[in-house]
Amino acid sequence: MNKKIPEDSGSSQVYITGSKSDEQKLIESAQNGNNEAFGKLIRIHQKRLFRFVYGLVNSFDMTEDIVQETFMKAFEKIDTFKTGYAFYPWLATIARNRAFNLIQREQKKESLDKMTEVGFDPQSTDLGALDSLLDDENNKRLYKAILALPVKYRTVFTLRHFEKMDYAEIASYLKIPPGTVDSRLYRARQMLMDAVKDLL
């Protein structure tokens, strides 16, 4: 039985059992040197990855760079990827690390805690190039509201809603207590509800 991975799975490691999925076949093909197969993997995952990274860094250009670097790194290390596991969580991990490294370099921050507390607060809610990637006005309004969140709320929100990580995973990743995750997420949701009340 082919165990399909739910699209919104946030688990860092989802093992696929049963018959090989298309993705697994693509991965194995890419590992054997088939660049076209890797190209298909890019097209499958890049949108989701883009959304996630954008939620973290709040910069279109930076998001593009990180996504590109993530796929290049994944291509380099494709041989080390264990077949049988979901590909996206692996990509997301690489992207997360790249994002935080870049942020630290840009902001000259030393620790992740500092990054989540300060920095990358939106100077404006102008979507910029992202505007062209959003269908309608409601999309844009929601994104503007998300981008208007203070970074510490936005990070938790992104990890929870875009990556479907549970509180313990978020707490572990950001090195904050689970209670803090709860309170920040609660605040983020309150602010978003206030911003898009009429859309609810």
């Binding site: 660049n35 999309n139 509800m193």
Partner: protein, 440 residues
């Protein structure tokens, strides 16, 4: 419970992140509270909105983006990968260097301990000389290392401006010297490419071939000819220290020590094969009992749980008692040597000023307080050993040396461990008084 308690937990309840009991309580409240129900409904709508409205549109951008990534991958030059490998190998090299440096340090300690430990025990003049070193200058780091340096700069006077490479190279050479001398330790060190000159060209102390085996069951590591002992004694004795004992006196005490060691060994062997003889002669029994009483009057060693014989079996009492006393003395001498070695290492400037990464890290971790505590403990052990040697030894010279050491530190008000020295000195004086009383 206040309403705010439940309101604060709504978000976690929605995400199924509450513990079972808490979840049940909040669930029960929600069923009864319209406000919380309304808020929960809004959370669900928000969740749906986010799921629907944060999806990025299908545009040409994604295809272009994918193509851009593919071209970047295909155009990535191979040489970049090589550079990454070089970086990683460089990191590996520094790790290896750190490991090698730690091995060198371990080898130095082992070498020093092995060498001086044997000689200190076997040859009491060396013991006295190191005692003198401590008495006259307990912070002395000018004690000459066992390995002779051909460089005018002493090992203890390392210039702080030396590069790490120079020290590493000198450590490497030292290691090679140890390897060539011992032959047991073998490592493959690749010396780093450096243009700096070595600081020390250390060579092992000269040793001749062995002839006479030192008669001590525990010290059979080295066979050293008697003639070489003096040479080795000279390499260990610090230059500044003037020995207070003449050479003749040293020879005499050395012979005495060796004689007692032989006796100890004999007694140890005999004690295993002791057979209780029948006490047919009452006079013999009385004599033996008197001897036991005499021995029992002598104050027992502090800190030791040696049990003198209390058996009345004739033929075995005195031998066991004597053996235990001599064994005690041996024990305290060994303890003294060990602690002297520890003190030497702590005072060794080579280690203090070493710039190898491992030592740097270790020094960072070791706080000044812990270092002081260690030194205090060593001195406490030293004083205890000296005290016990003073009361057990029959050699007046050894006794005087021990008492002098205790006296020096007891009088010092600046050292934190002087109170320990005073304590043991007091104990010794009390034991002397007791002895004088029993004589009367």
């Amino acid at each position: 419970m206040e309403h705010q308690f439940f309101r604060d937990r709504l978000s976690a309840y929605f995400d199924h992140e509450l513990k079972n009991e808490e979840h049940a309580i909040v669930h029960q409240h929600i069923e009864e509270c319209p406000d919380c129900q309304k808020e929960l409904a809004e959370l669900e709508k928000l969740e749906t909105l986010i799921a629907e409205k944060t999806e990025l549109a299908h545009t040409d951008y994604w295809e272009k983006s994918a193509q851009k990534i593919e071209s970047a991958i295909s155009s990535k030059p191979q040489t970049e990968i090589v550079e990454i490998k070089k970086t990683s190998s460089k990191g590996l090299w520094w790790k290896l260097t750190g490991v090698a440096a730690s091995l060198v340090l371990v080898a130095i300690f082992a070498f020093e301990q092995k060498d001086s430990g044997d000689e200190l025990l076997m040859d009491s003049p060396k013991l006295y000389s190191i005692q003198n070193d401590l008495i006259f200058d307990d912070t002395s780091s000018d004690s000459e290392p066992e390995l002779q340096s051909s460089n005018p700069n002493k090992a203890g006077d390392i210039n702080e401006k030396e590069s790490d490479d120079a020290i590493l190279k000198s450590d490497d050479e030292l290691k090679e010297a140890v390897v060539s001398d011992d032959g047991k330790i073998k490592t493959k060190l690749q010396s780093p490419p450096t243009t700096s000159k070595p600081v020390d060209n250390l060579q092992p102390a000269p040793q001749t071939s062995s002839k006479v085996k030192i008669e001590d069951a525990d010290y059979t590591v080295k066979d050293i000819a008697p003639a070489v002992n003096d040479e080795l004694a000279e390499t260990i004795v610090p230059k500044k220290v003037e020995p207070s004992v003449s050479e003749e006196g040293r020879k005499k005490t050395r012979e005495k020590v060796q004689a007692t060691n032989r006796e100890v060994e004999k007694n140890l062997n005999q004690s295993i094969a002791i057979k209780p003889t029948e006490a047919n002669d009452e006079v013999d029994q009385k004599n033996q009992i008197e001897e036991v009483k005499k021995l029992q009057k002598k104050p027992s060693a502090v800190g030791m749980n040696f049990q003198g014989a209390t058996s009345t079996e004739s033929g075995s009492i005195t031998t066991l008692d004597k053996t235990s006393e001599e064994t005690q003395l041996l024990y305290w001498r060994r303890k003294l040597d060990k602690n002297l070695q520890l003190l030497k290492i702590k005072n060794d400037k080579r280690i203090m000023y070493s710039k190898t990464p491992l030592v740097k890290e270790a020094k960072k971790k070791e706080s000044a307080t812990s270092s002081q505590i260690d030194k205090d403990f060593v001195y406490k052990e030293l004083f205890e050993a000296y005290y016990n040697i003073a009361i057990l030894t029959t050699d007046t010279l050894e006794e005087n040396q021990a008492v002098q050491f205790l006296q020096t530190y007891a009088d010092s008000l600046t050292q934190s461990y002087s109170s320990n020295a005073l304590h043991y000195l007091q104990l010794y004086k009390n034991s002397e008084l007791k002895q004088n009383e029993t004589k009367k």
